[in-house]
């Protein structure tokens, strides 16, 4: 099953073309890693999948992105529904300046869940899934800004899970974290793929090897190669991919 089917996707910021005719299928319930050197377009591509690119006023997009068969750039598509289904965790942890509980309950409340009991349940379940429950359960009413960087990032994952998405986009979500927190989040991603499709942008090739099932290599706005992770790293077809995964440039 495919989560996303992208064909001929191009993107311009003003006159600058950041993506060139990207075509890729992203399988469901797997972890797909997007790799490549800085400025290669992998984050740009990631943000087209939940239409966060819309926030940039000068952006222009051509091509087709099907999410579960539906064109998310259809003028009639419901952006808020897409963003609810395709959750996102950012590079820098961005918990809201409210309590831990309110952070996780924010999404469900926006989407109409009001009953305290139901919210309590969602909050606990989401925090458990994000492996933060044990650390947070005694301080749910305390400000989220008092958590450590790694905890804040897991809180952001819990917050994203609370709206029951189908896909989770991780935009270099461990790049600002220490190795222990990074390890916790990698482990978490491994458990999440049972229920979610995970697409992660990473600078860290070891991380891509450790965590992902599929990998896609971007260079200068082009998708060079996408394949199962083992193959992309072990036996790449394209010389650029081989150079990059062997650390020759980046």
């Amino acid at each position: 099953m495919k989560a996303f089917e992208v064909s001929e996707l191009s993107l311009w910021y003003g006159n600058y073309r950041a993506l060139h005719d990207i075509s890729i299928d992203i399988p469901r319930n797997n972890v797909t890693a997007l790799i490549g050197p800085s400025g290669c377009g992998k984050s740009t591509f990631l943000k087209t999948l939940n239409r966060m690119q819309d926030l940039c006023k000068t952006v222009r997009i051509e091509g087709e992105v099907l999410f579960e068969g539906e064109d998310i750039y259809d003028p009639k598509a419901d952006v808020n529904k897409i963003r609810k289904d395709v959750g996102m965790v950012f590079q820098k942890a961005n918990p809201f300046p409210m309590s831990i509980y309110d952070n996780v309950a924010y999404g469900p409340r926006i989407h109409g869940t009001r009953a305290k009991k139901e919210l309590d349940q969602i909050v606990e379940e989401s925090l458990r899934r994000a492996a933060l429950w044990e650390e947070a359960k005694d301080r749910l009413g305390k400000s989220a800004l008092g958590l450590s960087g790694g905890q804040q990032q897991r809180l952001c994952i819990a917050r994203a899970l609370a709206v029951k998405p189908k896909v989770l986009l991780l935009d270099e979500s461990t790049s600002a974290l220490d190795p222990i927190s990074t390890g916790q989040i990698e482990e978490l991603v491994g458990t999440l793929k049972k229920d979610y499709t995970v697409i992660m942008v990473t600078h860290n090739m070891q991380q891509a090897v450790r965590v992902s099932d599929y990998a896609a290599f971007f260079l200068l706005g082009d998708l060079i190669e996408s394949a199962p992770t083992e193959k992309l790293f072990g036996n790449p077809e394209r010389p650029e991919t081989a150079d990059y995964v062997h650390g020759l440039f980046g």
Partner: protein
Amino acid sequence: MKRPAKRIEKVFHGIFLGCGLLSVFFVVGISAYLIISGVPAIKEIGLVEFMLGQLWSPSQGQFGILPFILTSLYGTAGAILIGIPLGLLAALFLSKYAGPKTSRIIRSSVELLAGIPSVVYGLVGMIVLVPAVQNAFSLSSGATLLAAIIVLAIMILPYIVNVSATALDAVPQEYEEGSLALGATRTETYFKVSLLTARSGIAAGIVQGVGRALGEAMAIIMVAGNVANMPHIFGSVRFLTTAIVGEMSYASYGSLHRDALFSIGLILFILIVLINVVLNLIVRKEEK
């Protein structure tokens, strides 16, 4: 080379210290003066009689300022109640919805609004607002607490708008993106995340507005009717400030009447300090 440089440093240090102390001196001086000149009349009239007396009639020896205190409190509360929602919505528009050009034009006109002398607000209020209130509610006179509240609300609006818009501008974009990425609409995001994040800045704007409204005299003396009644929304009223301004010129020198006006000044001063302290405490507690 070293020595003269040091001496110059010392001289400048002294000048800066002096300038800093000057403002402290003025605050202490004014406070002391208000207390010295305000206390005797309160002693003579009696604190309870002065603060809670409902009748102000100096010619009959009646010096109750409760009507003025309540009018000042109601007037300020009313202005804030109108000013906060209008100001916040305007600030949200300027900071989040308006394009850069629109935002710039409106922001400069809001700043201009803050710079208009209060007597001009009073004049316009007297000529436009008072007759309008009179007609709208079929009153014998439109010079009422309501008219004063509206004038005060317009006067404090620029403070609330400017300070709140600046606070909203400073909300980190990551917060708003985080909310949008959860499927919240822009409006939901601004109301539930941006306003919350900017709350201490917004509160600072409200504190400024309260201070301005409580202390204002010129604008409201021209629209409030200036009668020492207990406050009523459609009645002519006198504020703490307007009582002083209105009567100081004819209270004879050395009379209890004149001393009592100083006492009103003292009460007004204490009221403003108290409200500022309380509001600041609330803001600080919120921040934690």
